[in-house]
Amino acid sequence: MNDLPKQEETTLSFEKIKKDILHPLQNHKGLELWIVFLVTVIAVCGWAYIVQLRDGLGVTGMRDYVSWGLYIANFVFFVAVSLVGMLISSILGLLRIDWITPISRISEMIAVAFVAVSGLVIIMDMGRPDRVANVIIHGRFQSPILWDITVVTTYLMISLLLLILPMIPDLAICKNELKKASPIMKKIYNVLSLGYINTPSQHKHLHRMIKTLMVLIVPVGLAIHTVTSWLFAATLRNGWDTTIFGPYFVAGAFVAGAAALVMAMYFFRINYKLQDYITDVQFDYMGKLMVAVCLVYLYFNLNEFLVPGYKMKTGDDVHLKELFTGHWAVLFWCSQLLGNVIPIILLLMKKFRKPLPLMLISIFVLASAWIKRYVIVIPTLLHPHLPIQNVPENFVHYFPTGIEIAVTVLSFALALLIITVLAKIFPVVPICEIAEQRGIEVKIED
């Protein structure tokens, strides 16, 4: 059953692990340049958002019919990617699957970054962001938006805890080892490590808490994407009015999240020179995992499109024809083939599960996942029950404006910045867990 290539028996010592993993944190010039670049992008694109705040959402391509556009597609995408944290570190972690140990922290970082930005994306889409407090003051229990905001906040909180708690032993190491760190960082390491010195009782207590959170995040993770799907499924519109949207979105989220994780793994493996930790084994398994989640997603897609496509009910017919053979056909089939069918076929072959090919395939999968969200959000709004008439030409079509694209770039840059900063100040691979897994004694000085 377990056909994983044997963990190569390297002569890793605890000291070497510490050195390998902590080295890039302080000696990676490229990373700082990258951060400067991201901050510049954010500053430039932030101006686009200022323009939107000043002039109203009229600067976007959205109008009365397509009243949700790029931003909501982005929101769904961000939420989807963030679900990888729950998939890898909780579901697989609770199943005691050991190959995930080196990549669990990266997946949590992705989760934290993407879920945090998804909350911001929702605010960027609001006509009156100044009134966001109304959601708390006047929040209606019946509205999926209240649930969504609650769940996004909760998921962010638990993901943060699941990032930090398992990192406590590593932070204790950081405190001791990272001599060059700035005083602020030293302070942060000191506070967050909570005086952890890996006594058996500390170890036991910490892991009990982590396990509690790992269990807790499963329903919250499912909820975040299910509730997001309800934003659409709770309406009476062609293409959204379907009962399988919850699991359909969750399955799609696993695909997107897995692809994002593979790309991050590849990036850190090369840039942080972590080939000894994020090995071909991890990529091989991620490839297999991707086949599994893609198959599930494909199954949901089949149900989502084949069943209404078979009946061609009034309303659905126009919508589906536009998707299958009409204006949206290219995007639709791109998302289905490049993001689902072809990756499944390719990843069944071992050579495509090597790091580089898998990473390249993941790029396609992730891009397709984004396109898929775009195709879920916009065409439906263009096919309302009643004809669109007596409105200007630009109400009948939708194409994102420069401002919208800039704000989208802003949100992506923010997510990347969060990941980069986290990877700059925290070890991206769990030092202590790796050592424990390989039977190396963990020593943390007081």
Binding site: D55, G56, L57, G58, T60, M62, R63, D64, Y65, S67, W68, I122, D125, M126, G127, R128, P129, R131, V132, N134, V135, I137, H138, G139, R140, Q142, S143, P144, I145, L146, I149, L231, F232, A234, T235, L236, R237, V318, L381, H383, P384, H385, L386, P387, I388, Q389, N390, V391, P392, F395
Partner: protein, 311 residues
């Protein structure tokens, strides 16, 4: 290709013609006409006013707008409560509509909307291939199971006791979930600064007319709730020159035609004319009833119905 473009051009042209002829075809209702005449006849009476920055100016009395005296809180409170004991319904007789669009103009005037913003929109409909085309005025349906108020996260849009679904643009956060949820496409959004925002900015907000409109908030048909409060018919109803609209209180079983002012039994009107509601399969329970376009007063003169116009 060329032929196609010419066809398109002609079609567009016909559409434009339809609009201009329609617009020029009928002039406003008596009351509006009367008001305009009265305003024109009255000698310009000048009054002295002190502006905010302390200057004395002379203003034509006719140009002064009456200020809403009730303070915001009072307007909000009574607006949210509604008129007790009433249950407002509208009946739209499709056999009478000839796309004069007086309703749309009156509505836009009342609610400070631009010409491309519709609380009520007259659509050219054809239910299926080979079925008869007709004009269908489409206001908010004021559903009794409203999908829009279900999804509002902040109680900004809500149904009140007289059945009217209102929107409070003092509270709306602009998430546009209600627009997505409405199967009748009855809601609009103020994407930019609303029409004449500068002119109306000091006006106290009246939730029952949703004026002044606000940037970044949703707006919708309100059955002219402010007019109902003084027993006036909604703007669209009383501006129709063709007797399309009936409006009234279902609790009284009576609706009044906005053009002829004839009051009839609501139940009889629906029963005798096989009245129906839009998309009953959605379970929204609309308060707007339609009478089928049978025995029409006018021949359908819309532009050629093509796929493009229908979807």
């Amino acid at each position: 290709m060329k032929e196609d473009s010419s066809k398109n051009g002609r079609r567009k042209f016909l559409k434009n013609l339809g609009v201009t002829v329609g617009a020029a075809g009928v002039v406003s209702s008596f009351s509006l006409l009367g008001a305009a005449k009265a305003a024109a006849k009255e000698p310009a009476e000048m009054v002295n006013l002190l502006t905010q920055d302390g200057q004395l100016v002379q203003v034509d009395k006719n140009q002064l707008r009456p200020t809403v005296t009730a303070p915001l809180n009072e307007l909000q409170k009574r607006g949210r409560e509604g008129i007790p004991g009433k249950s407002f319904v509208m009946v739209i007789d499709l056999s009478k509509c000839r796309n004069a669009r007086k309703c749309m103009a009156a509505c836009q005037n009342h609610h400070q909307l631009r010409p491309d913003q519709h609380h009520i929109n007259v659509l050219q409909m054809q239910d299926a291939e080979y079925t008869a085309p007709y004009f269908m005025p489409k206001p908010c349906q004021h559903c009794d199971n409203p999908p829009c108020t279900k999804v509002c996260p902040v109680d900004a849009t809500f149904k009140r006791q007289d059945g009217i679904v209102l929107i409070d643009n003092e509270r709306c956060i602009g998430c546009r979930f209600c627009i997505a949820a409405c199967p009748y496409s009855a809601r609009i959004f103020q994407w930019t600064e609303p029409k004449d925002a500068e002119k109306y900015k000091d006006l106290t907000y009246n939730i029952e007319a949703n004026v002044p409109q606000k940037k970044g908030t949703v707006s919708k048909c309100l059955f002219s709730a402010d007019r109902l409060r003084v027993n006036k018919l909604p703007s669209c109803v009383s501006s129709c020159p063709n007797g399309v609209y009936y409006f009234g209180d279902r609790n009284e079983d009576a609706v009044t035609n906005g053009t002829t002012h004839e009051t009839v039994r609501f139940s009889k009107l629906i029963e005798e004319n096989a009245g129906y509601t839009l998309m009953p399969e959605l379970g929204t329970k609309p308060r707007v009833y339609y009478l089928p376009p049978k025995n029409r007063a006018f021949k359908f003169n819309g532009d050629l119905l093509n796929e493009e116009n229908l979807h």
